[in-house]
C-alpha cells in the first residue's frame, strides 16, 4: 500500500503529540512533512519559565530531537514559514520556496502574543513572551541589569516577572485589573499571590493603565508612562497581556475563521482534508491556551487521520502557575451563583486559602493557594462529576483526610503537655493558661487575654485558646458569646479592629484572608465596616473601596423613596447669606427641584433631584462657594449653633464662631456612625447641644464640653466631659474625643453607645487628664484630615466616578408596525 502524504504546518507541542499518537496507531500510513517557522526541533513551551529563571536550559526542554524526526522518517523544514496553501492542487509552499503536496493537511500555527497598540511599541527592548527567541532576548537584557517592566499580571506575565527577578533584574508588574490573575483566581487568592510577589521584591501595580512606552533618541526603551502620569524607568518592557490565535494563513486559504480557525468535533476545518489543532483553533466558540485541551485534540486528530471517528467535545481546564515556591491551582468555574455553595478554608498564619464551589453536591470549581497537593484530586472529581455529599464536611481538608477517624480538635488540645506553647507572641504555655482559668475563675476570652496575654497580640492563636477554655471549663465556656461582625466571620468588631492594626492589614482582601473570612467577598454588612476601619486606621495608605460603601456615600447625596436624591450643601455653623440663598434659588429653578426644606441641622435640603442631574446641581452650587454638607455620611454632619455673643443679650461666648471653626476643622472626616455637633452660647441652650453626639455649652468661665447625647430612636441627655477655658482648648478636646471614638467605635455604633461600652470615666481620663493621649488623638485626627478634606462634589464635577451618574445606554422602543 502506498503511503499517503501528511503535511503539518507548525511544530509546536500539539502537532508533536499528535504525531506521537499517529505513529503508535498506524506507523506506516503517512509520509510526514513539517514546516516550522522557528529554526528548531520541538520543545516544551510550558518550560520556558524555568529556562528564563535559569533553572533549566534549552536542551532540558527539548521534547523531540533531530534523531526522533529521522527515526520516524519525518522531513522537517526549519525556518520555513508557510506562505500559501493551494487547496485545488493540494500543495503547501513556504516563504523560502519549498513546496510539498499533501493528501491530508494539519494546520497548527498556534498563537501570537497580543501587542498593545501603545505609542513606542516598536522600540528596541519591547519584548513579548512566547518562544525561545523571546527568552533569549530577555536573558541578554538581564545581563546588563536595570529594571524590567512586565505588562500583564496573568499567568505568563507573572512567570516572566519571577524569572527576570531571578536573573537579577528589578521588576515591576503592571496589571490593569485590581487583582492578579483575575481570570483564574478570586480576589482572595489574588491578594495572597500579590503579597508573595511583593515579598520577593517584585513591585506590583494593579489598576495600572499604560499610556506610552518612552524611548531614547536612538530608539531604545527607557521607561513607561502610566495614564495617571507616573513614569517608571526601565530598560526592557515585556508585554504579556494575552495571545491571539494565528489565523492569517487559514484565512488566506479561505477556511472558515472566526476568533480562531473553526473546527468541528472531528477537528476538521471547513475543508474535510484539512485538520487544525492547538491554540489557533476555535472549537464550539472556545479558544484554548493551556496544554491539556491541545493534547486531547491531538489524540482525536490522530485517530481520525487513521480512519477513526473520534470526537473532541471541549475541555475543562486547570491552571497552575509555574513559579518555584508559589503554589497555586485553579480549575473550573468558581463564580458565585444560584444553587452554588462554597467551602472556604483559610489559614492566615500559613498563607493558605482553599475554596471549592459546589453545585448539586458536585465540585464545579476549585481555587487553591499555598497548599495545592489536593488540586488534581479535586480536579478529577470535578471532571467526573463525583457526588461529594458523603465527604462534604471534610472535603476541603483533602484526600488524606478522607476515611480516617474524625479528629476532635478540642481533644487534641487537651492532650497537649502543660509546657506546650500556645501563644508564640507572648510566650504563654498551656499550663499557665489552664492555671489562670482555674485559679482566677476566668470565663471569657478577654479575661484570659487580660490575665495571661495569650492571644492578645496577633490573635492567630485565638482558636487554640478558645479550645483550651472549652477543654478546661466544659460547657461553661461559650466562645460564641462574642458577637461576630456578621455571618462571614467569627471575629467581633473589636477583634477585627485590633487585628487590622496589629497585623498591619491594609486592604479588604488582606483582612478577609488573614482573619479567615468564611465567604469570598463578604456581605453588605461587613464590607462597609471593613472599609471604614481601613480608612480610619490607614488614612494615607488605604484606597477607599467605593463598592463597599452605601449608595449615599458613593454619590454624595441622600437616596429617597422614589430613587431620586436630596442634596444638602454645608452652611457653616448654620450661617448663610443672600448670595448663597440666591444661588440655591437659581439651582432649584434650573433643575425643577420639587421640594426645598430647612433641616434640623440648620441647613437647606433640596429634594427630588434626578441622579443624572446631580453633577450639574453640584457644579452650580460649587460656583457659589458651596461644598457638600455630607448629610449622608457616617461622618461629620452639622455643627448647629445659636447666635451667641454676637447678637444675643444672654450670649457669653462667640458660639457661632466656635461652631464654624469646629465645622471647618472637622468636615470630611469619616466616623463609625453619624456625628452631629452643636454649640450653645449660654446655658439656655438654644442650639440644643445637650442631645447631640458632641455639644458645647458656653459659660462665662469657658466652655463646657458634653458628649454622648441622643435624640433619635433613643432619647438621652449628654454627659459632661469637662470644662475648658479657651476656644482653642475646646477645639482640641472635641477633636481628640472624636478621634478616640473614630479609633474605637464599632461601625454604625453611635457615640453614646460607644461611651457606654468603654465607660465614661475611661473617656474622661484619657481626654481630660492625659495630655499625652489627648495630643496623640489630636495629631492623628489632623493627619487623617489631610486626606479626607476633599470636597466630593467638586471632585465629581471634575469627572471622578462619571459612570455613577449617567445610564450606560438608552434605547427607545420602536413602535410596532
Amino acid at each position: 500500500m502506498t503511503r499517503q502524504k501528511l503535511v503539518v504546518v507548525g511544530n509546536g507541542m500539539a502537532p508533536g503529540r499528535m504525531l506521537e499518537h499517529l505513529f503508535t496507531l498506524a506507523p506506516d500510513t503517512y509520509d510526514v512533512t513539517i514546516f516550522n517557522a522557528e529554526p528548531r526541533v520541538n520543545y516544551n513551551r510550558l518550560m520556558l519559565s524555568p529556562v528564563l529563571s535559569g533553572e533549566k536550559t534549552y536542551e532540558d526542554i527539548i521534547t523531540h530531537d533531530d534523531a526522533w524526526y529521522a527515526d520516524n522518517g519525518i522531513i522537517l523544514h526549519k525556518s520555513a514559514k508557510v506562505s500559501g496553501i493551494d487547496r485545488g492542487a493540494k500543495t503547501v509552499t513556504s516563504e523560502n520556496g519549498i513546496t510539498a503536496s499533501y493528501d491530508k493537511l494539519v494546520i497548527a500555527t498556534g498563537s501570537s502574543p497580543f501587542i498593545i497598540p501603545l505609542p513606542g511599541k516598536d522600540l528596541d527592548g519591547v519584548l513579548t513572551y512566547r518562544d525561545l527567541d523571546d527568552v533569549e532576548k530577555m536573558l541578554v537584557a538581564a545581563k546588563s541589569g536595570g529594571r524590567a517592566i512586565v505588562i500583564g499580571g496573568g499567568l505568563l506575565g507573572l512567570e516572566a516577572a519571577a524569572g527576570l527577578k531571578m536573573q537579577g533584574m528589578e521588576v515591576t508588574v503592571l496589571h490593569l485589573m485590581p487583582t492578579l490573575m483575575e481570570r483564574q483566581l478570586d480576589p482572595a487568592a489574588g491578594y495572597l499571590l500579590e503579597a508573595e510577589f511583593v515579598r520577593r521584591g517584585i513591585e506590583v501595580r494593579t489598576k495600572a493603565n499604560s499610556h506610552e512606552i518612552l524611548g531614547t533618541e536612538d530608539g531604545k526603551v527607557r521607561g513607561i508612562k502610566l495614564d495617571d502620569g507616573t513614569i517608571i524607568e526601565a530598560s526592557i518592557v515585556v508585554m504579556a497581556v494575552g495571545i491571539r490565535p494565528s489565523t492569517d494563513l487559514a484565512k488566506a486559504t479561505g477556511l472558515d475563521v472566526n476568533r480562531g480557525i473553526i473546527v468541528a468535533d472531528d477537528m476538521r476545518t471547513s475543508d474535510p482534508d484539512i485538520f487544525s489543532l492547538g491554540e489557533c483553533v476555535e472549537h464550539r466558540s472556545m479558544c484554548y491556551g493551556l496544554v491539556a485541551p491541545l493534547y486531547e485534540m491531538a489524540e482525536v486528530i490522530a485517530s481520525n487521520l487513521t480512519g477513526g471517528s473520534s470526537t473532541y467535545t471541549g475541555s475543562v481546564t486547570a491552571t497552575k502557575l509555574k513559579v518555584t515556591g508559589v503554589d497555586l491551582y485553579s480549575a473550573g468555574d468558581f463564580a458565585e451563583g444560584e444553587g452554588r455553595e462554597e467551602i472556604v478554608l483559610r489559614d492566615g498564619a500559613a498563607g493558605i486559602y482553599k475554596r471549592l464551589v459546589l453545585k448539586d453536591n458536585r465540585i464545579i470549581g476549585a481555587v487553591l493557594y499555598g497548599e495545592t497537593s489536593d488540586g488534581p484530586w479535586f480536579f478529577d472529581m470535578l471532571k467526573k462529576g463525583t457526588d461529594v455529599s458523603v465527604m462534604r464536611d471534610t472535603l476541603i481538608f483533602g484526600q488524606a483526610y478522607q476515611g480516617g477517624d474524625p479528629l476532635d480538635p478540642t481533644a487534641a488540645v487537651a492532650a497537649l503537655p502543660d509546657d506546650a506553647e500556645i501563644c508564640g507572641c507572648n510566650g504563654v504555655c498551656k499550663g499557665k493558661i489552664v492555671t489562670a482559668i482555674k485559679d482566677k475563675g476566668l470565663t471569657t476570652l478577654d479575661d484570659v487575654r487580660a490575665h495571661t496575654k495569650a492571644s492578645a497580640s496577633c490573635g492567630t492563636c485565638t482558636g487554640l485558646v478558645e479550645k483550651l477554655m472549652t477543654a478546661t471549663l466544659g460547657d461553661a465556656f461559650n466562645p460564641q458569646a462574642v458577637k461576630p461582625v456578621c455571618g462571614c466571620t467569627h471575629h467581633s468588631h473589636d477583634e477585627v479592629r485590633r487585628l487590622i492594626k496589629v497585623k498591619g492589614l491594609k486592604t479588604i482582601p488582606a483582612v478577609m484572608q488573614e482573619l479567615e473570612w468564611t465567604t469570598s467577598q463578604g456581605c453588605a454588612k461587613c464590607r462597609p465596616a471593613l472599609n471604614y476601619y481601613l480608612v480610619c486606621d490607614w488614612p494615607d495608605e488605604y484606597a477607599d473601596d467605593y463598592q463597599s460603601r452605601f449608595i449615599n456615600e458613593r454619590v454624595h447625596a441622600n437616596i429617597q423613596k422614589d430613587g431620586t436624591y436630596s442634596v444638602v450643601p454645608r452652611m457653616w455653623g448654620g450661617m448663610t447669606s443672600s448670595k448663597e440663598l440666591r444661588a440655591i434659588a437659581d439651582v432649584v429653578d434650573k433643575y425643577n427641584i420639587p421640594a426645598v426644606k430647612c433641616t434640623g441641622g440648620q441647613r437647606i435640603d433640596m429634594l427630588g433631584i434626578k441622579k443624572e442631574d446631580l453633577p450639574g446641581v453640584w457644579e452650580d452650587l460649587g460656583k457659589a462657594g458651596f461644598v457638600s454638607g455630607q448629610a449622608y455620611a457616617k461622618g461629620l454632619r452639622t455643627v448647629k449653633t445659636c447666635v451667641g455673643s454676637d447678637w444675643c443679650r444672654f450670649g457669653t461666648q462667640d458660639s457661632t464662631g466656635l461652631g464654624i471653626k469646629l465645622e471647618k476643622f472637622m468636615w470630611g472626616s469619616w466616623t463609625p456612625a453619624k456625628l452631629k455637633l452643636a454649640v450653645s452660647g449660654c446655658p439656655r441652650n438654644c442650639a440644643e447641644a445637650t442631645c447631640k453626639d458632641i455639644g458645647i455649652i458656653c459659660v462665662d468661665s469657658g466652655f463646657e464640653i458634653h458628649f454622648a447625647g441622643a435624640a433619635g430612636l433613643d432619647i438621652k441627655g449628654t454627659e459632661v466631659l469637662g470644662l475648658v477655658k479657651t476656644e482653642e482648648e475646646a477645639l482640641e478636646y472635641v477633636v481628640a474625643l472624636a478621634q478616640m471614638y473614630r479609633e474605637q467605635g464599632h461601625y454604625l455604633e453611635r457615640i453614646y453607645k460607644w461611651a457606654k461600652r468603654i465607660g465614661l470615666d475611661e473617656i474622661r481620663q484619657q481626654i481630660m487628664d492625659d495630655a499625652e493621649k489627648r495630643q496623640g488623638y489630636f495629631d492623628r485626627f489632623v493627619f487623617s484630615q489631610k486626606f479626607a478634606q476633599v470636597d466630593p462634589w467638586s471632585e465629581r464635577v471634575s469627572g471622578k466616578d462619571k459612570h455613577e451618574f449617567k445610564p450606560m445606554a438608552a434605547f427607545s422602543l420602536e413602535a410596532a408596525e
Partner: protein
C-alpha cells in the same frame, strides 16, 4: 408581520461598569441594571426592587446578590428572586460579555 424577537444589543464596554457595581440601561420606560461581579460576569435585572421599587443598581453587590439601598432586601442577580425570608422577584434579562463588550438581550 409583527414578531417580537430577542436580540443581543451591545451596550458598551465591560470597563465602564465598576467591579461589584452596576450601570443602568434605559429601555423605553424601563430601567435595567447591569451588574458586574468580582469575576467579570455580567448580570442584568430590572432596576426595581419587588419590595418598594428601590433602584437595585445602587445597592451593594456581594455573592451575586444585591442589597437594595432602600430597605436592605437582598435580591439574587441570577434569578431575580428575593433571598431569605422576603418574597418577591424582579425581571431578569440575559446578559453576556465577549471580549470586553457587554451585550443585553432585549426584545425589539
Amino acid at each position: 408581520m409583527n414578531v417580537m424577537s430577542q436580540t443581543w444589543v451591545a451596550i458598551g464596554d465591560l470597563t465602564e461598569i465598576p467591579v461589584l457595581g452596576a450601570r443602568c440601561v434605559k429601555n423605553g420606560d424601563m430601567t435595567i441594571a447591569v451588574f458586574r461581579t468580582a469575576d467579570d460576569q455580567v448580570l442584568a435585572i430590572e432596576d426595581k426592587c419587588p419590595h418598594k421599587n428601590g433602584p437595585l443598581s445602587q445597592g451593594i453587590v456581594h455573592d451575586n446578590c444585591v442589597t437594595c439601598p432602600l430597605h436592605n432586601w437582598v435580591i439574587s442577580l441570577e434569578t431575580g428572586r428575593a433571598q431569605g425570608a422576603d418574597e418577591g422577584s424582579v425581571r431578569v434579562f440575559p446578559a453576556k460579555q465577549e471580549d470586553g463588550k457587554v451585550y443585553l438581550a432585549l426584545t425589539v
